[in-house]
Symmetry: C2
Subunit: 370 residues, 2 copies
Amino acid sequence: MNDRIAITYSILGDQAKEIAEAIRVEQSIEFPFDLASERIQQEVVGQIESISAPINNRTQVVISYDQRVVGAELPQLLNVLWGNVSLIPGVRITDLVIPDSLLNTFKGPRFGIAGLRTFFNAPDRPLITTALKPMGSSVSELAQMATTLASAGFDIIKDDHSLANQPWARWRERVEAVAIAVREANAKSGHKTLYAPSLNLPADQIFNAAQEAKSLGAGALLLLPGISGFDAMRAIAHDDSIGLPIQAHPSMLGSMLTSGEQGVAHPIVLGTLMRIAGADISIFPNFSGRFSFTKQECLSITDAAQSQLGNLKSMWVAPAGGMSLDRIPQMREIYGSALALLIGGALSRGSLAENAKAMVEMVEINKKNW
Amino acid sequence: MNDRIAITYSILGDQAKEIAEAIRVEQSIEFPFDLASERIQQEVVGQIESISAPINNRTQVVISYDQRVVGAELPQLLNVLWGNVSLIPGVRITDLVIPDSLLNTFKGPRFGIAGLRTFFNAPDRPLITTALKPMGSSVSELAQMATTLASAGFDIIKDDHSLANQPWARWRERVEAVAIAVREANAKSGHKTLYAPSLNLPADQIFNAAQEAKSLGAGALLLLPGISGFDAMRAIAHDDSIGLPIQAHPSMLGSMLTSGEQGVAHPIVLGTLMRIAGADISIFPNFSGRFSFTKQECLSITDAAQSQLGNLKSMWVAPAGGMSLDRIPQMREIYGSALALLIGGALSRGSLAENAKAMVEMVEINKKNW
């Protein structure tokens, strides 16, 4: 089965064998098995590779699929992975193995860890990133904030993921003003700070907006694949005429993750799929932040982001969500240096300029120790 | 709060007030509340409108948001509805009220119930629809199947949602051959059968593919908003140069639905959002089929599809997933006539031509009784 896709399903209850039989049909031909031709039964329907003994009322079943069911397109890979089976309660996907021959048809991260280390001349330190906030601020307030942050030496300043095209700061005006602010700060400081505007925009505008953002001076892009679709991110990441680093935000993806009973495991969604879809940096909630992820879940995402995955480049992780400067030493210890530190609102408590400078200094001073 | 968006959250546990305080900030400014200006605190942050007494360890909290947080764009509406809060365990959205002033900026279904009743000259009967299956069939096999089904007088014949661009039947060849088969059958029979190819295709091809499908002779389109994003469906539905009826499939949306503990209620996802995003027909798993929905959940979707929602047209429901002819009388009783009957694989048990004819006759004979 080396060239087959293998999916491990953790199935609740004592009907695991029957549910697995249903899944292998549902996720492929979606048609009565006995009515399919023998060729289709053997060639197209998934095959049960193994069924574990149940533990805690859950059974691990591995089903493999001929990679032709995917047709080498990411939307159909998602459909095979989690399309109709998402509607069956008590099923959680715990492992996904994609053969290299299929993986390598995707380009994955354009820059990845090595590419951004080179760009930022950061061979041994984490990236230093933050977000422009809060929604409701004017374009000039956000641009002023960007000036302060860029002057401090941040690597990437992204739009808050909540910034779309609201009346307080329309998308085009905001992108233009912030890009100018960052460019001017870079000219003074010599830094290479990149501004990453959010592309949480209508589907029929998102590709043009990526081009427009670039032409306005954006140096990176923020995508929300849970809203735009993973494949919109892939298409933008892989477009050579854009060619900018991509930060990916987990908005709306929580439903797949937070129920331990069902869904798709954290490393698959926020590691493997983000990486296949071209994210250079995968943002997710760090443990002990505002959200619910465990340390183990965060580490599993990191492993999926950075271990071998065909020829795809490895991806930065950005464990975030309510982080502050005092969490940096712990994050260094846990995640190592292929880490995009992302601290947002906490930098605004007191002097933004001083906090921003302190964050950059914490990384610079410790950079030999990452 | 008449012009505000109101979202009802069902929150698990005894910290509902604290979680609600977090949500109203998280889903708007995502920034420490006390650091925001007084204007932003009042204008941009969500406001708690009511908190119920807890029942069964769950508290219903209504939070309203200024509609400017959405900026009149569907991706940001989704982000406000379920973006970061999707990552908080134990929260389920049970109601969504959008003011008409925002609702009416969306066009909703282009045809809706009345439009397709007129097109199919079906003033008082359900629509008769089916799917081309199974994956693994050749283009000519699928076209032959379409000939049989169109000759029987079906209203809409869609691609199975699993058909993307696989080697057994590449997208363009399939669409062209099936469209020809349906056109020729219509020419002989006088029916107005429409073929709805699936647009489960790469994001950078989907808009062109919609145009191409139309030019090849497709009369309707199948969209998978859980994969392509709801807004891709909206954009295609609202494009006057396409102008075809849209069937929407719930692939990958199950994670939002199937856990009663968290997620977003069935009528919001498969009723309200599908309708806002321009679906003319919302396909979902009928109760007692292959999936898990209850009768009550199916009826709640139907209610959201067909009750008043600003100026948006009402939407057909297609309760499906393992249906057979013997379920039709029950479906008639439960759903009434604004129902798109969708029977797929079961029609292939025995003679497809005879089963297809029987299905059409069941509807025609009973059409006064729907």
